[in-house]
């Protein structure tokens, strides 16, 4: 069965500092990986996705993630965060890459302080 573990429930960081949000997955089949962001009182917005090809994926708002098959990880990074990046971030995995069932991690709350 597929599962996703987000290793940090909360990540506090100062504005303009770099950040990494960690995500590990387990799956016995090919995986398709996603990062979503949820701002307060809103739905989820896709940041980026890995389906195949280059293991370094660039997304919106300056975020990027690297797929590491040997370590079963898909960590999200941003070199310099802004106050507006304060939100909940969810890593998710799918086994079909065709808009099928997504399995989400518990979420990481990113708090950017001035």
């Amino acid at each position: 069965a597929q599962s996703v573990t987000q290793l940090d429930s909360q990540v506090p960081v100062f504005e303009e500092a770099p950040v990494e949000l960690r995500c590990n997955y387990s799956s016995s089949v090919s995986v398709y990986l996603f990062w979503y962001v949820q701002y307060p009182n809103q739905g989820l917005q896709l940041l980026l996705k890995y389906l195949s090809g280059s293991t370094l994926v660039k997304g919106i708002n300056g975020f990027e993630a690297e797929f590491n098959k040997s370590q079963t990880s898909f960590h999200l990074r941003k070199p310099s965060v802004h106050i507006s990046d304060t939100a909940e971030y969810f890593c998710a995995v799918s086994d079909d890459g065709q808009g099928g069932k997504l399995i989400f991690g518990q979420g990481t709350e990113l708090s950017v302080k001035p």
Partner: protein
């Protein structure tokens, strides 16, 4: 281009009642998925509808049922509500078999069961 819309925004029910939540998919999408997000948790997949039929189902009891209409909009019905059903219910839409296999999420319906 309208995104995914959900109604109502908020809902308060008492134990034992029944509730119906509604979702209109993003323009051009034909597949609707429903997720339950309890407070402080990641979303959990309930089921997915395509061509007016349930295509996939998560680990939710039969009290949770759904429907998809010919215009691709969808309803989520929950019978015999109990306190544990209090959550944010998210609808996501996608295009089956399309090159863009991303799920787009609506803002959610906040259900409170008293």
């Amino acid at each position: 281009d309208a995104g995914v819309t959900q109604s109502p925004t908020h809902l308060i029910k008492t134990r034992g009642q029944q509730v119906t939540l509604r979702c209109s998919p993003k323009s051009g999408h034909d597949t609707v998925s429903w997720y339950q997000q309890a407070l402080g948790q990641g979303p959990q997949f309930i089921f997915q509808y395509y061509e007016e039929e349930e295509r996939q189902r998560g680990n939710f009891p039969d009290r949770f049922s759904g429907h998809q209409f010919p215009n691709y909009s969808s309803e989520l019905n929950v019978n015999a509500l109990w306190l544990g059903d209090s959550a944010l219910y998210l609808c996501a839409s996608s295009l089956a078999g399309g090159s863009e296999d991303t799920q787009y999420f609506g803002p959610g319906t906040r259900l409170t069961v008293l």
